[in-house]
Every structure is written in C-alpha cells, then in structure tokens.
C-alpha cells in the first residue's frame, strides 16, 4: 500500500476514498503464500472422494462397495442409503406452485444428472481414495434422458421427477401496462428467438470442504470455499442435525466464485457428516472435471422476444416468452435466477408495456443457478439484441434509436412499468462519452468503405442498466441486509468485521479506505476480517454486486456510531460539546482548534476508562446491520468494433470501449479491474464459452481442452472511462460494479458481429459466435436463408456467393 507505514497522525491525505490504492490482498495472493481450503492440513485428516454417476438418468439397481472397503487405507465407504438422514440440499426459494423435489446429498434409487454423487469414499490419502472410487461397482439401468427443454414440456417425454408427472417446475409472469394494445397499435413488430447458452462459472479455485468435528466439545468447524459463510453455517446445522451454535464456518482464501459459491452443496453436508461419523477431520477437494460436472452452471434459456414499435422509433411494448433450463434439482437459488431475468426487461428505456412469461424446466443436467450477473445478463441480452434488430428493421442507426427511448436525467427516480424504481442515472452522458471514445462516426465510415473492398467491419453498442446492491430484504429469499462491526483496539488499530465475504473483490482495501477517511487514520491501520462465523456477526455474504453498497454501508454506519461515541468522550476530556468535535488527521479537535486530543490518547482513554462521562460504555466497538431501502441501478454504454473474416467466420475484435457509472468510486483501480474481468467474462459468453450436453446427457465440453475459457491474448486493450452519478440509496453514493462488465459486453459483442454481417443479410447469430456458426450464418443468408448447402456444393458456392456479396453489398446496405 502506497502510504503504508506512515503514522496515522501524519496522514495528510484525508481523502483515501477515490484513490488508486494497490490492493492489500495482492502481495500474499501473488506470492502464493496465503491459504486456500485445500492448503489446510490437520492431524489425523482423511480424504473424501465421491463416486459420480456416468449416466444422466438411470435407475441404481445395486451398489457394491466391498472391494473398495477392502483396499488397504480405506477408512469407510457410504452410499445414499447410509446418508438418508443428511440434507437435503436446500433451496431457499419459496413461491406458489414451485415444484421442489427432495435433493439428496448422495443419489439414492435414481440418478438424474451426469456426475451426481452416489457414494463417498474416505481413505487415509487422496490416492487410495481415488483408487477405491474405481472399485465401487454400481449397476445402472439407463432411463430415457431429458435434455431438450421444448421436448421436456411436450406430451411425449420422460420425466426427471416422476412424482410431478411434468417437467415444468414453475411458471412466472411479470407484466405491466397494456401489452395487447401496444402490439395491436404497433407500426412494426420485430421478433427474434435467442438462445442464451449454458455456461460454466469456472472459478480459478474449485470448491473445497474441510470439516473437523470434535465429539467431546460437540463442535463442528467447516472450512469451505464459499461466498456465504453465515448462511452456510445455518444450512449445515440443518443438514447434519447439530444446533447452529455448535457449527462454525470459516472461509480461508476463496479463489473466485462468480456466483457458483453462492450456494449450499451436498458436499457441504456430506463432508461434515463424515467427520461427525468418523471423529476425524475430513477433506474433499473438487477436481476440475468435477467442477465442470457438479458445480452449478449458469444461464441456459430460450428466449422469444418481441418488440412493438412506432415508425418513428418509439417503443410501445416488449414481450418475451422464456424457457429456463433448471437442471435436475433446485440448488439454493435456481428458480430465482429466471425471475431476476424477468425483472430487468425494461432495460434503460421508456417502455410503456411489458409482459414476460417464464417457464422453469427440469432436465437431466446439473442445476443452473447464479452466475456473474445472474438473470441480468439474460435480460440485457434480450433487450439490447432486440433493440439492434428493431433499429435495423426501422432503418435507424442503433444509437439514434436508443437515444430516442432513453429517459432523461430529470425523470429520475424513474419507475419502470414493471415496478422497479431506478435510483439515479444520466444515460445520455455515458452514451455520448462512449461514442466519442470509440470514434463512432469514424467507425461507421470505415464500415462503409470496407464493404467496397470485401471487408466486413461491425460496430456494436449496448446501453445497459443493471440492478445491484442486493437488496432490500423483502425482495430476497434470505434477507438482503448486511452487518458491520468496527472495533478500535487499545493500540489504535482498527478491526472491521464485515458480514460481506469478499473472494477477489478487494474489499479488505476498499473498506479500509472508507473507514480511514471517517476516522482520520491510515488505511494500513484498518484490518478487515471476514469469513469466520465465530468472529463476525451474522451476515449475508458477497454476491449480486452488494459488497460495498450494502456491506460497505454497514461498516460506514457502524463507524458513524463509533464517531459519536468518540466525540462524546473527547468532549468530556476537552470540556466542550460533543457536537463541536471534529475528527481528522489523527486528532479529535474542539471547535476553534485550540484544544485537541490525539486519536491514540482518546482510544486509550476509552479503554482505561479512568475518566469517562456518565453512561459511557468503556471500549470502542460498534455494530450496524444495514437494511438497504432500495436496489441501486448502475448503467453505462459499451461499444465494440470488430472485423469478420467472411471466408472463415473468424471475428477479430479491434476496439472495445466501456463507459460505466457505478456511482461514487472508492478505489478506481479496483473498479477498473472489476470492469476488465467482467468484460472478459461477458465476451467469453458471446464469443467462446458453451457447455454442450449431447442427447444422452453427456457433457461434450467438460474440460479446458474443449470448453473455451478466453485467454488474455483473445482481447484487445479495453478503453475504459466512467461517469459518476451518486446513488441516493446509501450515504456513500455507491452502486456496485461486480457484474456490469459481464452484463454490458455480451450483447455488445453480438451486436457488433451481426452489424458487420447485416449487409450480407445476416440478422441474428446465437452465441457463442464460434467461427463455424458465423460462417454458416453467412452462407445460409446468402443462399436465401435456407439451411447451409450440402458439403459437396458448399465450398464452391460459398466462394461465388461471398464474391457476389462483397460486390452487391454496398448497394443493399440501408
């Protein structure tokens, strides 16, 4: 840290907030000298390996574990019948008519997705446990596999859960305004089916659980790579049947989550139970293959989106029918994610009528759940793609079309027709800044000129709004508040205990910055503690871009309580009124500045308590549980410039601009980092990533040899800037930034590629925009929107058609 080591009293810079401090976390993470769950070793520790189903849907006829048990070094083997008292894996969602199947920690009787665990092996070392797993014999009788959502809803289908006699898990409708009239009155209706493919969250650290049960003390400690230590503690106590007071959850370093660790997994039930059963510490560490199979997936929706338009570009209404693939079971928030999708279909536009109908569908796949953006990327993709298609069909520039429908700053707070109140925004400012940075007009000129030379340049724009600071408790299944406890230790060092559970967000730094400003001390003197349920008051965790806006606010509010207490003591010692005390630069000063006491002396006085005012509680500690009055709504504009090789379908990304507004910024370096990572992940979905299950429910892209996780050299340099529109929702005016890049960049990229090919007659290409898909879209459009030509004809025909296209395209471009 830049100013580290300087005494608090020398701290001239009163404003740490807004400074580009390097992250406190980085030295230990970069050097690899800190500890993840798998780095922890305990005396007597044994290792757990799970035997997983090779079938997506099958009856378990028999499981023989004798050979595995007989292997020297094997401690125990358990199957679903042994663990029927553990669990079930919890789903936090409660909604009318939601079908909730019991979700066992080990598959019992039947397996319903590839990789479902059916037996747990415990052995003295990981090698023996892995060998023993191969010795477990399971007789499976394969059943018809349900993988296709539309087929799953037809009459001619097998059921994932026979008892429901349907694969429909729920329906959900969100509506506002008169949608029928909007579409009746429309001059033009544009519609498009869009597939939002299934993705793997791919945290750098897979999941890991270590549990130690001490029978004498009746105390269970669980180390888990999670985003929600407190909620996990509660759920573990339920799953294993211990009083919650006997359970402690610790999150050591957590190597990313992206929502995949905002969950409670079966392994978090089994491993603690094994430790209780065996009275030994038990560790389970997920391999990457397991991570692909058995950690939640993201997205996977089919979207039929329609936009009702007036000739002049005014939006009259938006309608969407969405099928959401939930997988075989509900994980913690599985049914919630499609509902978040519904919520954000107003986008950042004035849309007088909206209707979203969602059907959640069971299939024989791993559960879907929160993945970076969780519902908002899906919504933003639908809205921003249909906006581009609408603009194209109206013959309008996509920017002009957007400008026409954006609310003006004076219209805020802006309430959407489906009932959200957007806190604050200046959409035009961000859009104009992005247009300027990207050189939008020049890009359009280049595009036009390129067509004469058979070059296909495209420009993609996405103006987005997202929903952060999740959230008001009434709108969240488990409460949406956060806790913060600030304690000034006798030496003047400050401990913050936060209920947020950062795992890459840098909040050990940003929270220190904001507390340092409030107390007039150095951020190096503030130590941020998180992820230990015994040390930290109950909290909710880190997800939904809530850490700073909710958890940071809790810390801020707790600091205000402390400041009041310190002022009272200072006033007592200095002989003035508490209201006349100012705190800053390492001192507490009375009005006029003549009398003052150093921060250190004041703190010591609070602890020695030799002279305290009447009713003053010794010590300096305060806690605040912050309940946010609303969500926050960050926004911005992203612009991508691409060139498509029409012969191979390859896309070259030559420029990417992001202008984001996340309210006030505490640490610009960290905000930029969040945007960078977000853009990369969003582009990953647009261009490369896809989990493909085949008809048998086998995962085709279940390794890094097949699943395309983008690498640094896939990207151009990102040109970033921001506008600052403070949020009125919290006293710091912050909004949240963890997911913005992901939300904005996905439609931005697809818009750019489709724009590049619009002169060839390409209207839409589903993600990921892999070369073959782009090439097929071109050849298909060129052959009159038919299916691609048969292979024996295609090569030559293509050459002819692309020549034709490049010759004729300048004429046909609107």
């Amino acid at each position: 840290m830049a100013k580290n080591g300087k005494a608090s009293s020398n701290s001239k810079a009163a404003h740490w907030v807004g400074k580009k401090l390097k992250r406190k976390e980085d030295p230990r993470l970069i050097q690899g000298i800190s500890h993840y769950t798998d780095d922890l070793k305990m005396a007597g520790m044994v290792y757990c390996v799970l035997v997983r189903s090779p079938h997506a849907h099958a009856e378990i006829k028999a499981i023989r574990t004798d050979a595995a048990r007989a292997l020297p070094g094997v401690v125990a083997v358990f199957t679903g019948e042994d663990t029927s008292a553990v669990g079930p894996v919890p789903c936090a969602m409660q909604m009318p008519d939601l079908k909730v199947p019991r979700h066992p920690v080990l598959g019992t009787g039947r397996v319903r997705y590839l990789g479902e665990p059916v037996a747990a092996i415990v052995a003295e070392d990981i090698y023996t446990a892995s060998d023993a797993a191969e010795l477990v014999e399971v007789d499976y009788e394969p059943l018809p596999v349900v993988t296709d959502m539309e087929k799953a809803l037809s009459s001619d289908t097998a059921y994932v859960h026979d008892q429901f006699k349907s694969n429909q898990a729920f329906t959900h409708t969100l509506k506002g305004g008169d949608i029928e009239t909007a579409f009746k009155k429309a001059d033009k209706v544009v519609s498009q089916r869009m597939i939002n493919q299934r993705l793997a969250p791919i945290a750098m650290e897979p999941r890991a659980v270590l549990a130690e049960y001490l029978p004498g003390e009746n105390r269970l400690t669980v180390w888990s790579s999670t985003q929600i230590p407190h909620l996990l503690k509660t759920q573990i106590s339920v799953m294993v049947g211990l009083p919650e007071t006997a359970v402690r959850v610790i999150t050591p370093e957590v190597g990313g989550g992206f929502g995949s660790k905002l969950n409670v997994y079966g392994e978090e039930g089994i491993v603690p139970w094994l430790s209780m059963k065996l009275s030994r510490p038990v560790k389970w560490n997920e391999g990457r293959r397991e991570n692909f199979l058995a950690t939640i997936h993201g997205r996977d929706t089919i979207n039929d989106v329609e936009l009702a338009l007036k000739k002049d570009g005014t939006i009259l209404g938006l309608r969407a029918r969405i099928l959401a693939d939930l997988g075989a079971y509900h994980q913690l928030l599985t049914p919630l994610i499609p509902q978040l999708t519904a919520l954000m279909h107003a986008g950042c536009y004035k849309i007088p009528a909206i209707r979203i109908d969602i059907v959640g569908v069971f299939t024989n796949k791993m559960s879907t759940d929160a993945y970076r953006g969780a519902g908002r990327p899906e919504a933003t993709y639908n809205v921003e793609r249909i906006m581009d298609i609408g603009a194209h069909e109206l013959g309008m520039d996509p920017v002009a079309f957007r400008q026409k429908n954006l609310p003006q700053p004076k219209e805020f707070p802006f309430t959407t027709i489906t009932g959200l109140t957007y806190d604050s925004a200046k959409y035009q400012e961000a859009l104009n800044k992005a247009l300027k940075l990207a050189g939008y007009d020049a890009l359009r000129k280049r595009q036009k000129a390129g067509l004469k030379n058979g070059k296909y340049y495209g420009v993609g724009v996405s103006t987005y709004v997202e929903i952060c600071a999740i959230g008001p408790s009434a709108a969240t299944p488990a409460g949406g508040w956060e806790s913060g406890t600030v304690r000034i230790e006798p030496t003047g060092k400050v401990t913050l205990l936060t209920g947020a559970s950062p795992h890459g967000q840098g909040e050990e730094t940003t929270f220190a910055q904001l507390i340092a400003d409030e107390l007039g001390i150095d951020p190096g003197d503030v130590n941020v503690i998180h992820g230990d349920t015994l040390a930290v008051p109950y909290g909710i965790g880190t997800f939904g871009s809530r850490g700073t806006a909710v958890g940071g606010t809790a810390a801020f509010m707790a600091t205000q309580k402390l400041k009041a207490k310190m002022s009272a003591l200072a006033a007592h010692l200095l002989g003035c009124k508490a209201a006349d005390i100012t705190i800053g630069r390492g001192r507490l000063s009375a009005k006029g500045g003549k009398k003052s006491i150093s921060f250190g002396e004041l703190v010591m006085a609070a602890y020695t308590a030799h002279s305290i005012p009447a009713g003053f509680e010794p010590g300096l500690e305060a806690t605040h549980f912050f309940e946010p009055p609303n969500f926050t709504f960050p926004f911005g504009t992203h612009i991508a410039s691409v060139e498509v090789d029409a012969e191979t379908g390859e896309v070259k990304i030559d420029k990417y601009v992001g202008v984001d507004d996340c309210g006030n910024v505490i640490n610009p370096l960290i905000v930029d980092g969040q945007i960078h990572g977000g853009i990369a992940q969003g582009m990953g979905q647009a261009m490369w990533e896809e989990l493909i299950y085949n008809e048998d429910g086998q995962l085709i892209t279940g390794s890094f040899m097949d699943y395309v996780i983008p690498k640094a050299h896939f990207f151009p340099e990102f040109t970033l800037d921001r506008t600052v529109t403070p949020s009125p929702v919290n006293p710091m005016g912050v909004k949240g930034v963890g997911e913005a890049g992901t939300i904005a960049s996905t439609p931005c990229m697809v818009n750019a590629v489709c724009d590049a090919l619009s002169s060839l007659g390409v209207r839409h290409i589903d993600m990921p925009l892999k070369p073959e898909r782009v090439w097929k879209a071109i050849t298909s459009a060129q052959s009159g929107g038919m299916e691609p030509l048969p292979p024996e004809l295609s090569s030559r025909a293509k050459r002819n058609s692309s020549e034709k296209a490049s010759k004729s395209s300048t004429r046909r471009r609107p």
């Binding site: 390996v49 990981i126 090698y127 892995s130 060998d131 191969e134 391999g287 990457r288 293959r289 012969e647 191979t648 490369w688 493909i692 085709i700 892209t701 890094f704 040899m705 097949d706 699943y707 395309v708 996780i709 983008p710 690498k711 896939f714 892999k770 070369p771 073959e772 090439w775 097929k776 691609p788 292979p791 295609s794 090569s795 030559r796 293509k798 050459r799």
Partner: protein
C-alpha cells in the same frame, strides 16, 4: 484428477532407458509430459511405469550434418521455434513450432514427444510430412530410420514399437523454397483445427514443386498430393483451384467445434492462404 499408481524411473543413459522400457509391457516414455500426464490424471492412461527420458544427456540438440539438419527428440518446441540454424536453412519446422500451444507449452513440450503421441491435430506431423523428414528410433535391437510418410499409422498410433524410443528427427535443407505453416487454432486446446505446412519452389513465375502437409483434418496427417499435382508447372493463380482438393480422398473429422463440412472448407481456405504466404516469402 489423481492418477493411478505407477512406478517412476529416470535413467541417465539411453540404453538404461531402453532396458527399462523393454522390462515392462505397459511402460510409457515420459518426455515433456504434456499429453501423457493429463491423460494419466484423468485415468485414461494407466501405465504401470514411466520412463522419464528427460535426464538423459544429449537428446536435445539442433545441428547440421551434410545436407540434413538433425534435431534431438528432447528438443523443446521453443528451441525449435527459435533455432537460427533452422530459420536459415529449413524454416518450416521452426515456423510450425511457433504455432504450438503457448509459451509454457513450448518451453516444456518436445518434438519427439509430440511426434510419438501422434495426436490427429498436432502441428509437427504436417511439417515432417511436407519435409520428407526421417525419424530415428532406437531399441535394444539397435537403430532404425522411419520416413515421416510411413511413421503415422492412425489416431495416436505410429510405427513405434513399445520398446522403442524416438531419438532424432532429420529434415532436409530447403534452399530457395518458400515455406509456410498456416494454422486455424482451436481456441480451447490450442491444437490445429486445420494446419497446413507448405513448401514451394518457383522458377520463372511457375511452380516447380509444391509440397503440402495437412494436419487436423483427418485422423492422420497426410500429404495433399492432389493439390501438389495440380500446382506443378502452373503460375500462382492456380492456388485457388488447387486448394479445393485439400481434403480430397480423406475422411474429414467433425466435432462440436468444427463439423466435417466446415473443416473441409477451412482446409481449402487455409491451404490457399498457406500457398500464398509461401509464395510471398523470399526464402
């Protein structure tokens, strides 16, 4: 991701290694370990013994010998890519090595390991075919030299016997030829969806001789003889038509990333581009 049990040996001499290899039916040679170790971690390969040849001296070199350049089997892709000798006298192999994997892979992976593995989408096979390279293998019975054109027998299968170790690759000098390796990278694995290695000899504006080695397209790398024949004696304007024969006579692979149809199309496009690049180069 935990391999099955295996013995590990790291002999210091080639003959010791050959003895070890002959001692166990399912022993495997470990070179750079880039293909074998991941397969073992997934338990797709479960050899009972690994014979690590990384500590045998004198298996990593690039040197001249008469009209050939000799490359030791343990030479890394990075060393091949950076070899001034190769770039000066027979650049195709170096051009190919540059396109393999990423920096880390090129610093660990070896030419011998890659050729012996015979992955259908590996890069080197296209180049050694185009170069009419010779592959030198040793066993306890002695040495034999296998022409590259005979070496590959199928997907992950070669002329190598279980008790043999590939020790050296011999390539000719290619003076006065234009060479190029054009690759369509798989964005996840880094392997060649299609890889085209080309040698082009021109005189008086006509093509004297063209050699085209293709990898990634079929189960086994091959020489595109129809393309080669279609170019002989022709001007460079013949590239486009000749390239349409890039996948003639082979069974084209198809997968989730590139269907048969698309891969065949890529073979044609990349062949044309490789020929153009080779014609443009002055070597």
């Amino acid at each position: 991701m935990i391999p099955a049990n295996f013995d590990y040996e790291s002999p210091r001499t080639l003959s010791e290694a050959l003895d070890l290899l002959a001692s166990r039916e399912d022993a495997k040679v470990l070179a750079g370990g880039h293909s074998l170790l991941p397969a073992m971690k997934l338990r797709l390969a479960q050899p009972s013994m690994l014979v690590d040849i990384g500590r045998i001296g004198g298996l990593a070199y690039i040197r001249e010998s008469g009209d050939q350049i000799l490359i030791g089997a343990m030479t890394t892709h990075g060393e091949v890519a950076a070899s001034k000798l190769l770039l000066r006298s027979s650049p195709l192999l170096a051009q190919t090595a540059t396109e393999i994997g990423d920096t880390q892979v090129r610093n660990r992976g070896t030419i011998g390991g890659s050729l012996a593995q015979a992955h259908p989408s590996a890069d080197y096979p296209a180049a050694v075919l185009a170069l009419d390279a010779e592959l030198v293998v040793h066993s306890r019975k002695g040495e034999r030299v296998i022409p590259a054109t005979k070496f590959f027998t199928g997907m992950f299968s070669t002329q190598l016997h279980n008790d043999e170790i590939l020790t050296e690759i011999r390539v000719p000098r290619t003076p006065g030829e234009g060479t190029a390796y054009k690759k369509f990278h798989h964005p996840a694995s880094g392997y060649a969806v299609v890889g085209i290695a080309v040698r082009l000899k021109m005189s008086g504006g006509k093509i004297d001789n063209a050699v085209v080695g293709i990898t990634g397209v079929s189960e086994i790398a091959y020489r595109a003889t129809k393309v080669e024949n279609a170019l002989r004696g022709k001007p460079t304007t013949a590239f486009a038509d000749a390239a349409t024969h890039a996948a003639d006579g082979v069974e084209v692979l198809g997968d989730y990333f590139a269907s048969t149809e698309y891969r065949q199309h890529l073979a044609e496009v990349m062949t044309r581009r490789a020929l153009a690049q080779a014609a443009g180069g002055k070597r």
